[in-house]
Symmetry: none
Subunit: 315 residues, 2 copies
């Protein structure tokens, strides 16, 4: 009984919101301590906290705050956070405000994901991504959810030179989610596709998306990861003899065509070399290199290679 009184700061820390936000929620939505004398400090009981947990969870899921507050306020007594089978798309009211991430018209789920990222809530981030992956698959999740949110963070990051920690956390969570997909779909057959970032290229997330998409349809691959120097890539090709190599470059600076030329000149030259990512310039690519425009195209190309190999070896 004595310890049932949490201060405003403690509650804010628990929920991952600012103290001022708690005050705002109190006066705007009536979501405050049940007994509070104006001027005195707020003391939140477990019941009050449970209400706020609901509020936070709903907003993280993309529900508009006003609606979430209405929901939380009428929640009679649900101390443990349970599962409300809430489907996206309920919110009709306006939304926005505060230090948020622009996600364009990517939908409430993306908004919820962006909010979870802003509060560094890796659990919510992971669950949101996993749900979407399970429901819509890798390609749709990447194009419809992850890329908009990541782009929004990057945009904001470029503008304010902040949010680096948010960007990193999102990257990690996305990476983990993709790895989870790969683990859930054991690959069939030997890996004939090699995925690699260009030299000095640090962004490997799109490549991981491709890897997850491949895994999802049962295509086996090898993933080298970020920042692979050209000699190391050639060395890997010579050691493993892949049929197709995908080289990702996110920015111009890492898109040296020379590393593609080196691939084509390797002793065990791959059948297909894909230059993926916005870094590559179409006019500077050596002959024989294919440049997919998006994840879906890269995926279908990779599948085509797999199929052709299946034919040539099985037939």
């Amino acid at each position: 009984m004595a310890d049932e009184a949490l201060s405003a700061g403690a509650v804010a820390r628990r929920l991952g919101v600012a103290v001022t936000t708690l005050r705002t929620w109190h006066q705007r939505y009536g979501l405050g301590p049940s007994e509070h004398v104006p001027g005195h400090h707020r003391r939140y009981t477990p019941a009050d906290l449970a209400r706020l947990e609901i509020m936070r969870r709903l907003t993280v899921e993309g529900v508009s705050p006003a609606e979430a507050a209405r929901w939380a306020r009428q929640s009679p007594a649900v101390p443990p956070p349970e599962r409300l089978g809430l489907k996206a798309g309920v919110s009709t009211a306006r939304d926005g405000g505060g230090a948020t991430i622009p996600v364009g018209r990517a939908g409430p789920v993306a908004r919820g994901l962006a909010r979870a990222a802003m509060r560094l809530d890796s659990v919510a981030i992971g669950r949101t991504i996993a749900d979407s992956l399970a429901a819509d698959g890798v390609v749709a999740t990447w194009e419809g959810l992850l890329r908009p949110v990541l782009a929004g963070i990057g945009e904001r990051h470029a503008a304010t030179s902040g949010l680096i920690e948010v960007e990193h956390l999102m990257s990690r969570c996305v990476s983990e989610a993709f790895a989870s997909v790969a683990r859930a779909h054991p690959a069939v057959g030997p890996p004939r596709i090699l995925l690699s970032c260009a030299d000095e290229e640090q962004h490997s997330l799109p490549l991981e998306a491709l890897a997850a998409a491949l895994a999802e349809i049962g295509v086996s691959y090898r993933m080298l990861g970020a920042r692979v120097p050209a000699p190391a890539l050639v060395e890997a090709v010579n050691r493993t003899g892949p049929a197709a190599v995908v080289v990702w470059s996110h920015i111009r600076a890492t898109a040296d065509p020379h590393q593609l030329t080196a691939l084509l000149a390797a002793p065990r030259r791959p059948l297909l070399v894909l230059a993926a990512g916005p870094g590559w310039r179409a006019d500077s690519l050596p002959a024989g290199v294919v440049r997919p425009v998006d994840l879906a195209e890269a995926l279908s190309l990779a599948v085509a290679v797999r199929d052709s190999l299946d034919q040539s070896t099985a037939g």
Copy 2:
């Protein structure tokens, strides 16, 4: 034995606080002699004194007195970190030939892992690590298997300036394995521990090991990942208000003590700041920063923080 009965004045002199403060601590926080008849003189046993020492140390480090008291009150049950059930490698057979990785005396499993890494066989790598994690736990796997192999790769890499692709692949696989552990053990309660690499620090694997170890015992945390600039770290602390922050630095160049100072000066200053990793120099750390020597110690410190917070908020 002779000093089993310390008077209030003696204890006060020993701790460097006023006698009245001892009385206050007794009646406000229950931090008094275990056996005390009201009206009679207080007699402090060594156990009582130990509790008070904890109380004083924590408050000196900046912990709020109420919180420190809660911590001190249930201190006796803080067993030192032990229990590493790692079965030592007993390999006697020769091994080697070709391009291999030196793993020292880390056992046959490590040698197998190194070979799989050389083959770029991510499936075998992943399975080996997962098996070890399941059998021996995170700490033992890290110390006994992963660290030796990673060190071996790094050593060879430094010597031959090759193997970069092997190093990357291993990193990815280890990272995935740790993420898998984290996913398999859903965390309990809100995250109060923040894990972050130092500015410009690219090695995040040891930090991920700590994260996985925390997850394994059900402790919730937030992981920011590699290359977190000092302002971003402070920003994250202010937004999430963690109780403890672990900052990892692998090399001297990234171990700028200033980022720790900034942490301690943050508006929502964490209870505990841990400077982890071989980069930090003990003599350059600001006061109030703790420097764990290995994974196990960092782990037990983090657990201690968690326990104390559980008491203060829920107990």
